[in-house]
Subunit: 590 residues, 2 copies
């Protein structure tokens, strides 16, 4: 096989320096502006047919966005209208910056549950500031072109995180589902503990409605299977009812609660209750706030948000990119662009009291199924939410919390990828350890710690394998003593320095008297000063044992790296293109 072409660019170790230069350059060119404002690409081709499709999809998504928004506001411990505020501007902003037509931006269960502890311990102002900071950090990461960071999160870690998040979110809903008294718990373990402790306080009607909700959701999902937007009317109806099933169960819940109220004048179900009416004022996010009688200025608030203010945008980006990948159909997803879009969505959102938002899997799937054509669909979802906020808040009073709990728990079941466990058991036990570790830390310490620990564990395992590059020693026969050749290939980094040193010492010990040890750098692509230092110290040790060592075909950079440590060893560096030439050189040198 002859190498006739190598058109894949090969980046060397100076990429980091380069990329700093690139950041500045890339922020300016006209081509980049077009890339960073994807609307410029599709708007000129926009027409009425596309508009109609976007309207249908946008409204269908809205029918899920409203009940899910209310549900996730409840997950975050916020008043329900916050879930609608969070859905208000995402679509409008994503219209300009979004690169993936299917994605719908809004509140999600994971971000809501990560925001919950601030709301519980402090006030909703912290959720709004968290959205603002999430936006700022995501935008900054986008501008710094840090999209590649997403590549450092492997599938087992993402999957473990998602599974644990789903368990935690569902666990926290047990309280509402059974109408229990007491707290719900911030942890999965705590939720389960509280559930068991308070089980005796369970209401009759709440779990009945909750289970009914789940059954109806599963039924309606089945009903829509095999039906599509372009089928006959009956199938279309089944398809649409299935897509709007979240709205259906919430409306049913409202009807049940209202009937109870009217017929028996009682409220046996726990209801959502009063909802702030009307649209939020457009105003800057709260940079200072008062909780109880303590005033928090901006720096205090940031301190309260703590290290999680870094993890929130990371998770937001991750959710969005993962969803984009799932719906991109193999087309390249530009993580940097998603960072920029999410950044603007969250920043703008925080001006209308939104909690942190990102791409939602459920609603993106509905958007896709409804045949959305451009990110313009999001506008119509937004209009529907504005309508709901203006007209329907008094109706929302009657939403039973058990309906929302049923809705959330059902959504969570579909978030867990059950198949990954047997797959990894068969194919990669090491990765099974990673996913279980990630889930355990998520459930026992917290979601944010779990994802970070998972990433670090996997990175540590990778570094560990990097520390032991395979060193296959070759022996070249020579008249007066053999040549023992140790080829250094690819990247040999500081963590492999000791490994190389051990191999060389071992080689020198087993070598016969007249042998020459040759460190072959012909295929060495990267080394660092720790490796250079070890190589030079080895020379001294081997010289003490009167053992010859030579460095073959080291590039001028690597040679310089070694000689700067010990210039007297310049004569140890030789160049040869084949074995014969090398033998020649060694015979002259000895």
């Amino acid at each position: 096989m002859t190498t006739s072409n190598s058109f894949v660019e090969h980046k060397e170790n100076n990429t980091i320096r380069k990329s700093i230069g690139n950041i500045i350059k890339s922020a300016c060119s006209a081509k980049v502006i077009k890339k960073r404002l994807p609307i410029i690409q599709w708007l000129p081709k926009y027409n009425v047919t596309l508009l109609m499709q976007d309207i249908i999809a946008g409204i269908t998504v809205g029918l899920t966005a409203i009940p899910q928004g209310i549900a996730y506001a409840v997950v975050a411990g916020l008043s329900p209208e916050y879930g609608l505020y969070a859905g208000l501007l995402g679509g409008f902003v994503y219209l300009f910056f979004g690169s993936c037509k299917n994605i719908t931006i809004g509140p999600t269960a994971i971000l809501a549950t990560m925001t919950a502890k601030y709301v519980a311990d402090y006030s909703p102002d912290f959720a709004v500031l968290a959205a603002f900071l999430t936006g700022i950090i995501a935008l900054a990461m986008g501008i710094l072109n840090l999209g590649f960071l997403v590549e450092f999160i492997s599938i087992p870690v993402i999957s473990g995180f998602t599974t644990a998040a789903a368990m935690q979110i569902a666990g926290a809903q047990l309280k509402a589902f059974f109408g229990l008294s007491g707290g719900s718990g911030k942890f999965f373990a705590e939720s389960v503990y509280n559930f068991v402790r308070n089980i005796k306080t369970a209401n009759l009607w709440d779990p009945v409605l909750g289970f009914t909700t789940i059954v109806i959701l599963i039924f309606l999902k089945k009903v829509g299977e095999g039906c599509g937007r372009k089928d006959n009317f009956m199938k279309q109806l089944r398809w649409f009812t299935s897509l709007a099933r979240n709205a259906v169960v919430v409306i049913l819940g409202i009807v049940v609660a209202y009937v109870f109220k009217v017929t028996t004048d009682s409220e046996p179900l726990v209801l959502v209750g009063d909802i702030g009416r009307g649209l939020p004022k457009f105003q800057p996010p709260p940079f200072s706030t008062t909780v109880g009688n303590k005033t928090y200025i901006f720096s205090d608030m940031v301190q309260v948000l703590g290290p999680q203010s870094i993890v929130l945008p990371l998770v937001a980006i991750l959710e969005s990119v993962a969803i984009a990948k799932a719906f991109a159909g193999g087309i390249q997803v530009d993580a940097t662009q998603e960072m920029i879009a999410l950044g603007f969505c969250n920043i703008m959102g925080s001006f209308v009291r939104s909690m942190p938002i990102t791409g939602s899997f459920t609603r993106t799937a509905i958007n896709y199924a409804s045949g959305v054509q451009t990110p313009a669909g999001g506008i119509f979802t937004g209009f529907l939410i504005i309508l709901a906020l203006s007209l329907l808040t008094s109706t929302f009073y009657y939403i039973p919390k058990a309906s929302l709990a049923g809705l959330i728990i059902t959504a969570m079941f579909s978030m867990i990828d059950y198949t990954i466990f047997p797959k990894l058991w068969t194919s990669s036990k090491r990765e099974l350890v990673i996913i279980i570790f990630t889930i355990a830390i998520c459930l026992c310490v917290g979601l944010e710690y779990g994802i970070v620990s998972g990433i670090l564990l996997e990175a540590a395992m990778l570094l560990y394998s990097t520390a032991k590059p395979s060193l296959n020693i070759e022996i070249v026969k020579r008249e007066n003593g053999d040549l023992i050749i140790l080829p250094l290939t690819g990247n040999v980094s500081y963590c492999a320095a000791e490994h190389v040193r051990r191999a060389l010492l071992q080689a020198s010990q087993t070598a016969a008297m007249d042998s020459v040890i040759v460190v072959d750098g012909s295929n060495l692509k990267h080394m660092d000063s720790t490796v250079a230092s070890n190589l030079m110290s080895i020379v001294k040790v081997l010289e003490k044992n009167s053992c010859q060592i030579l460095f073959l075909n080291f590039s001028s950079d690597f040679k310089k790296m070694c000689l700067v440590l010990n210039p007297t060893f310049a004569n140890k560096f030789v160049v040869a293109s084949n074995a014969v030439e090398l033998i020649d050189i060694t015979q002259k040198n000895v």
Copy 2:
């Protein structure tokens, strides 16, 4: 060059599983006990000649260990006798477990400065508990065979940390050196700020004595150059005075202070003052303590020590291993053994109220220069310290703090490796960034954060380069359309998955109609499920574009990893030993 032999063991990715098994096995065998108790190897060969040499070296080291111990106790903010307690047992314990004859265990400037904040904010009990925990963690790491972890710390990070520590330690001594009032500061920046702010409170005699101390130390160092233990009497005297120079300047300081006292009945110099007399009681370390009127139980104390309880043993191990390497003369240093030795030294030390201890560079150098033969030298250092604690504590009252400050500052100047900066500037700017970053974080945030950040930055850079393995596409000509071959070599991990995917998509876009893309796994040593998942999703994309793709010579493990995700692609995996065979296969398949 023919490969006739490859005797360097090549570990596969299941090393982690293996090593857990090894831990249990390795803890038991007789051979390992001999390795883990190095005294068994050298004691049978011990004789009077060796004993005499060890006695001379031990006492010479003692003459530095006493003044340095007092000085480092002052650095930690402890009463001076703590520095002597810290030197008491190290030598006796290292005798059994130490693998490097030159190393002397005791208090060091870096560990003292890292302990200082606990003593300042709480009490000496925290320093003693820190020693105990350092011991427990170091021992646990040794038992778990984690010596390899040291290899993940590169020379730039170690050097940056040492430089920053030296600057911080010297900076904190400015107060004592100039006899200033006010605090000295926990940070380098804070120390310098306090120095400038309080400069007007400077004493006359303290800086005079301090500068004199430095001048004498430099002079005595020069005096000993070129002299050795086996020279004539005059040269021997010069050599010994030079080695004992730390004791000399402290004795001179004592004399000056005493003369002041006797002649003028005044104390114009700031003195060390009263020292606890006699040997400490042998008792367990404080597992609970009272500071002010608050009682801290064990868990509270551990919480106070915080994450630094992990960093302290790491730094202790690092110092010892770095010194062992410097004096091992190229012989393999067993980091695991050093962990075990340090573990026992610190645990035992905490029973006599020692602060955290490790190998000391200065005293190890003196030990080496004095011709020590076995770790038995440490016993005699220990005896000298016992003598000092029993008899000399009233003399120590007169030690001027400025003498100690001069001594510490001089020691710190020699700890900084000035040459590494121009070397890295010439040979590796990337590593220059790492060293400067490490120093900056150490000086501005804290030593423990600096070393951890440095390690993480370097690991991140390494992972980044791992994420972009070079993919050199080869084209094999065929009658009906070319074969585009993408070889995956070595380790292809999750962070490279996107890179591989991009390369494949790019290849498919530039390929002609009848081309077949072949992913060559012949030299693939490691892959994971994220890579497998990307490869399988690529197949779907390429099939949509009716582009052929084949997987060549994937090992059965890797094939299984892919097929568990999508069993229908089994026919895409082919085996061929050369180009002709491969062309045959592709022609059948198409």
